[in-house]
Symmetry: C3
Subunit: 207 residues, 3 copies
């Protein structure tokens, strides 16, 4: 399956996640479609605006908007029947995170930016959709709290940029990024792996 096909699957999965969160917050059909679309396309949009990379993906391909808004609306209508889709959803979401990361790295690399920014470009593409979704739903973004979402993106970006330097071919590199990303993400969910927190050590007066 091509990277582009995976990207389309991934924006559908993110639109579903946005739609379900909008529904929980009592949004109407328009709000559900907008939150779904922002969850799906927000990461790439933030990346392109920060890099000055115009036109944005969904402006060059308006059919993406139709796809994400349609997936969100369908999710709203069919939500009760989606229980069985949870495992496929989590797999597509994890694969999508890797696809977002890889595509984000590619765009920054095509602009000749330094490696650190290429990695950050993949990270922004991977996480800012979910981050904006949560801001619109008036929540502290999940991605800042748990689930190693950002760590998965950074690991995959590092593999995607690093393995070719070790002589690994393009296909094997992509495969390694996807396998590692999927494995880390599903383990993080299954075993509740977390990054450290420091809440009880906090002090006041620095804001």
């Amino acid at each position: 399956m091509s990277l582009h096909g995976l990207y389309l699957l991934a924006i559908v999965a993110e639109a579903m996640s946005g739609a379900l969160m909008g529904m929980r917050r009592g949004m109407d059909l328009f709000g559900i479609c907008l939150v779904g679309t922002v969850a799906a396309l927000g990461g790439g949009t933030v990346r392109d605006v920060l890099l000055g990379h115009y036109p944005l993906g969904w402006i060059a391909h308006p059919e993406y908007l139709l796809l994400t808004a349609g997936a969100a609306a369908l999710t709203a209508v069919a939500a009760r029947r989606l229980h069985k889709l949870r495992m496929p959803f989590l797999v597509v979401d994890a694969l999508g995170l890797v696809a977002f990361t890889v595509l984000g790295c590619d765009i920054a690399a095509s602009q000749g930016l330094p490696t650190s920014i290429v990695l950050v470009s993949g990270l922004i593409t991977g996480i800012f959709g979910g981050l904006l979704r949560d801001v619109l739903c008036n929540e502290i973004p999940l991605v800042l709290q748990r689930e190693l979402y950002a760590s998965v993106s950074l690991l995959c970006g590092a593999l995607y940029l690093g393995l070719p330097l070790l002589g690994v071919g393009a296909t094997a590199t992509l495969a390694a990024a996807f396998v590692a990303g999927l494995a880390l993400r599903l383990c993080a969910l299954r075993f509740d792996w977390q990054l450290p927190r420091f809440g009880d050590e906090t002090i006041r007066g620095f804001d």
Copy 2:
């Protein structure tokens, strides 16, 4: 009355709405002016950044900032005497939503973008000011929840783009968009028309 005059009236109305929401959240005079300005000019700003359409309106016309910040400050000082202005406010707000939509469509069309993006450009111009206002005030955006605000914008955009294709002249098209937008918006407020919601059908585990 010209479209530009209506635009100026509309940004004053949106600045008032932002100021009153900032006041309710206990903001100080600066916060009130900033939230008013974001409510008034945020939609056009988001549109221009997404389209890569520089310079932004308020950078080319800094007097808009003075107008919106001044309207917000005046609202703060005179709020108690504004009760009688509620009906005129709602009419100007509805007309402003149509004016924002039409101007947003025009800017995307002038860049030669496809019809779907022209419609979305009008929608973004119409709703993102209020959306950013609510994010700054730590609320789930009203426009994602009720009042058909986005639907009014989409209807007006569709009329504005569609009627000329049916041979309707420019003036009649504008008039139709304004009459339809005003009627739908005021009916939505009066009769509490809503888009469907799906809150009780929601399920967990997809975020």
Copy 3:
């Protein structure tokens, strides 16, 4: 000490403030680093996107990201030992606000923009980092509520632009902006100086 050295000190201070707020909200190590980085570099980023001024500062200088993420991570680890740093922090934060403002004014002036936009560019650089930090932490932005943060930025910008017109030299102008900004900010904190609020005069129905 050079303006650039002060800028580097200031982004470290802002990264600390973001990290401490992220810790209080229970964020994990990644969230803490991201909120710290957004607090430090968000103001300049918003300014550059609004002005269409590319490449962004941290894309041209990726080492800034390392500095802010590192400062945030160090803050998380060492937070309990930071109590004694509160006074130095507040002084660096105030000096940093002036440095942000002055650098923001310079960038808009270098684009030949009108004086009002130059002032607003300084203001945006000064306050939007803290504003985005608070949005990510699901708080009404502090800068919209108290502490004269925005007023300090506007005063310093006005001195920085106005004194040269009165024949004051560049060094004396900078010195005056820093002294006035530091004095106003520390007095505001010490004596709880506030801009007026209007909460009890608010009315409903205008949103």
